[in-house]
Amino acid sequence: MASQMIKSRIRRYLLVSITMVAAGCSNIPLQTSRPAQPQPVQTQPAPPPVQPVQPAQPPTQPTVQPVQPVQPAQPAQPAQPAQRSAVSVQLLAQAETLQQGGDLSGAIAQVERAVRIEPRNAYAWHRLATLQLAAGDLNRAEQFARRSNQYAAGDRELIEANQKVMDEVRRLR
């Protein structure tokens, strides 16, 4: 009986994930100004709904950089934790690959990991917002965009991108 309950939970989980992916697909043409109408089922995974802000540096560069030992002369951490730290660049790149392969929940898990490692990474929160938007979770999308703004520290480009997410959420509601 117990195992049946578990099985039915797995079924429900799968159903929910499928619905989420489907919801993500129907939200795809966010950037175009086409009126909201039922979209044909797409066979190919489509690009992310809101273009993520481009990292300031190409992702390959910082993967090498922070490995060098820090100068002990600077004990204090920079006031703004490196927003494009190697670790977040790597995790967000993995998330990107997963999203393009259609694995939204896998992508979300990677960005959640990035947010856990760097809770003040405005860019990671932004990606969490765009992924939840793709997954059709409007509440989370909006709140994560707000969270991203909390740490954006005047990064205009990022704040605009977050505003786009929030506008889109409002439009879909």
């Binding site: 117990a2 797995i10 790597q90 709140q143 707000r146």
Partner: protein, 781 residues
């Protein structure tokens, strides 16, 4: 969940011919007895099949801590890393090159980590070299090729299990997982003719009887592996003839229905191999983990031989307690393998020279962090039945941070002991509890439910409800600061006596300050930092009690709070975890995130069952909360917390609030830094007077924990819409360089800072002007 249904090795029933041995006339004579016997055998057959086909074992749910993430710049101390490695059972060695081992030379570690299936992906085994400097991981490279690594994570510590009623524990293995030496050794020693017999081995029984007769006592058992499995699997421990008959019948039935491989695999998982407190160690999978801290696939010959050696008597041959006895028996097993031609002589000799290699008893088991597991269960009980948690072998990935948990446990124990000694309190009068959570995610890192940290009982972190005292005040001041045009940190509040009628009765309530002095007009920031009660009540009455209660609710307090004025001073009973929720929302600058202890639940075979997705909700404006938090930092550094705060390194950004209740019964401290939120309660179970204030009791514990676990340094940037203005301390007006000593830098929401200059600023301008005037005069002299 049935294992056997997927097993390709399963033999279809009735593959053997039934033989009619009994002559018909005899059958007719013994008909009633035969019918009864047949019925009985059919009944046993039903039992045998039912259990073997169904879910064979209740598997406890395994509960894991968070996995430690290693990446350059990670805040991490060498001591914390070493503790973590010990907790996940890695063995120290000289080179750290064997899987599951590490070496440490100063601040340089070499770690050979094992592969692990995390809930969000597979982590391969790594060979890592890393260095730590000033509490920061500075380099992380692949030990083999020297390449820099961006990110690696260790396997998480298993912090406990949620057990079935009988507390049997096992890790299920497949027959193909077991090293051949283990399977061969098992058969050679326990049941030489296993592959030939049909469940009962008559020649074995005869041989055993002969040996026993010669020896004068039992030296050898005649039970086949099948019989042993039946005994453990289906029958109780009674030693009666009837049970022996059942055992034989059931062994025959089992062999009739199932293949040798099926039976061997069931045996390998069923067999009892040791005891860990209340937890019974069953099966080779868990035994390999329990004795050697490695997966069964990695067992060496001497290790396999040891497991075979001890199965006759896991207590008698306990390799940890009776190592000599266990070693002798292990070597006998190796000799048997050699004699049977199963291993080569050279290999046998080498194996016999190896030490037992048993690791110290792992620090896990049932009751490592019961208060945290309690929180895990409560979070899961909304979605799962207790029975499923106990039996379905779920893998539960929690948010526990073993380093923070240990720091919290040790600090609470140390300080309750110390305070009782120093203050000559009755022994064991003091109790306490701690909740630590992470800023940003709201993930609970540590829960301590009392001084006896292993005691799985009353959980004071979740269940004790006590007046929160001044812990309420940030909500009160936040209510004011949410009206920035009326209230700023420098607004002067009236710290004067007042008398209030409590609603519902005619009693007069006349609150007092802790020092029983009224301080006149005080700036808002100082009223909060020094916890002046009269200023708080005056302000609260001006704002309205209901408004303050609404702010408490916004911050995450869900309990119903009656609208009495005394609520303004915290006359409301709440639990430490509720306080943690409130301060979490403050630490996250107005973003509410429900505290949680579980990230993910996987089924026994690793399929995702439930993901607790990250969540957050902005409930308050960031700059408003920033002002309160600024005042809380002031409270810790220069206000009620100042004496203790001197011990905390000045460059850790921490803030928080003391709480002391009537007659010094409850001592609270709640606060946060840039990484963790922490709440500590201290008091006595029967609400006796402890003589402790928030600062002299709970804050001591809090400061101890937070200064250990907060590794980030430096200030976090102020949010947008905040400007910093120099303010003259005595007047609350704008200061400048003329007011050096009495001025301080304070944050204001844009366009709300005082515009008027303080006297010192004005005089400074005058001085400059006069100076200029004087020198000008000089030109004409």
């Amino acid at each position: 969940m049935s294992k056997s249904s997927k097993d390709p090795l399963r033999r279809t029933p009735s593959s053997k011919p039934r033989r009619r041995l009994v002559p018909a006339f005899l059958l007719a004579m013994l008909l009633p007895a035969t019918v009864a016997f047949v019925m009985y055998v059919l009944y046993l057959d039903h039992l045998v099949q039912q259990k073997f086909e169904g879910k064979r074992w209740s598997i406890p749910s395994r509960v894991y801590a968070r996995a430690l993430e290693l990446y350059p710049q990670a805040p991490l101390s060498a001591e914390a890393l070493q503790t973590e490695l010990q907790l996940i059972g890695y063995q120290p060695s000289s080179d750290g090159l064997a899987p599951g081992s590490y070496s440490r030379k100063g601040n340089t570690f070499v770690i050979s980590s094992r592969a692990f299936t995390h809930w969000d992906g597979e982590e391969p085994a790594h060979s890592l070299r890393l260095t730590i400097e000033s509490n920061r991981l500075t380099t992380l490279t692949n030990k083999r090729n020297g390449q820099a690594l961006t990110l690696a994570r260790l396997q998480p510590m298993q912090i406990g299990s949620i057990y079935p009623a009988q507390k049997e524990d096992r890790i299920l293995v497949k027959l193909s997982d077991l090293p051949p030496e283990l399977i061969n050794g098992l058969q050679a020693v326990e049941d030489r003719r296993f592959q030939e017999h049909h469940g009962i081995d008559f020649s074995g029984i005869a041989r055993a009887a002969w040996s026993n007769l010669r020896a004068g006592h039992v030296v050898q058992g005649g039970s086949t592996l099948t019989q042993q499995l039946v005994k453990n699997f289906y029958l109780d421990n009674e030693r009666t003839l009837w049970r022996k008959v059942n055992e034989a019948l059931m062994a025959l039935l089992l062999e009739y229905h199932y293949s040798k491989n099926d039976i061997l695999e069931a045996y390998a998982n069923e067999i009892y191999l040791g005891q860990d407190g209340a937890r019974a160690i069953h099966g080779f999978g868990l035994a390999a983990q329990f004795y050697f801290n490695k997966p069964v696939q990695e067992l060496t010959l001497p290790e396999s031989a040891m497991l075979v050696a001890i199965l006759r008597g896991p207590t008698y041959y306990d390799p940890r307690r009776s190592s000599k006895r266990a070693l002798e028996r292990r070597n006998q097993i190796i000799d048997t393998l050699l004699a049977d031609g199963l291993i080569k002589q050279e290999k046998a000799l080498r194996a016999k020279q190896t030490s037992l290699g048993v690791v110290p008893k792992p620090v896990r088991g049932t009751g490592l962090h019961p208060a945290f597991i309690d929180l895990v269960k409560r979070q899961l009980q909304k979605d799962y039945q207790e029975e499923d948690l106990r039996s379905e072998g779920l893998r539960i990935f929690t948010t526990l941070d073993p380093i923070a948990q240990r720091s919290a446990e040790q600090a609470l124990v140390r300080w309750t002991d110390k305070l009782e000694r120093e203050r000559k309190l009755k022994r064991n009068l003091l109790q306490g509890s701690v909740v630590i959570s992470r800023v940003g995610s709201g993930e609970v890192s540590a829960v301590v439910g009392g001084r006896d940290v292993r005691f799985d009982g009353f959980n004071r972190a979740l269940d004790i409800r006590r007046p929160i005292g001044s812990l309420v005040k940030p909500a009160l001041y936040l209510t004011a600061l949410m009206q920035p045009q009326t209230y700023t940190l420098t607004t002067l509040l009236n710290d004067e006596p007042l008398q209030l009628k409590q609603p519902g009765n005619d009693k007069i309530w006349a609150p007092e300050n802790y020092d029983r002095i009224s301080h006149g007009a005080v700036p808002l920031i100082d009223a909060l930092a020094h916890s002046y009660n009269l200023a708080a009540v005056n302000l609260g009455m001006a704002l309205g009690v209901n408004q303050v209660i609404r702010t408490l609710r916004t911050l995450g307090i869900e309990a119903t709070i009656p609208a009495y004025p005394s609520v303004l001073l915290g006359a409301v009973d709440l639990s430490p975890i509720e306080m943690a929720q409130m301060y979490q929302t403050l630490a996250d600058q107005g973003f509410y995130t429900q505290l949680r202890a579980v990230r993910e639940v996987l089924t026994q075979d690793g399929k995702p069952l439930q993901h607790f997705a990250m969540d957050t909700e902005q409930r308050l404006s960031v700059p408003h909360v920033y002002l309160v938090n600024y005042a809380l930092r002031e409270a810790l550094r220069n206000g009620t917390g100042a004496n203790v705060a001197q011990r905390i390194p000045a460059d850790i950004e921490l803030g928080g609030k003391t709480g002391t209740t009537n007659d010094l019964r409850d001592s609270w401290f709640a606060g946060f830094g840039s990484e963790y939120v922490g709440v500590v309660w201290m008091g006595s179970d029967d609400n006796k007077v402890t003589g402790l204030t928030g600062a002299s009791g709970a804050l001591q514990v809090w400061a101890d924990i937070m200064s250990r676990i907060s590794l980030s340094r430096g200030e976090q940037p102020a949010p947008m819409d905040i400007e910093m203005v120099r303010i003259d301390r005595s007047t609350g007006l704008r200061a400048d360089n003329g007011c050096d000593d009495s001025a301080r830098l304070l944050p204001f929401i844009s366009d709300t800072a005082p515009t008027e200059d303080a006297l010192c600023a004005r005089s400074a301008i005058e001085d400059t002007f006069n100076g200029l005037f004087d020198s000008m005069k000089g030109w004409f002299e």
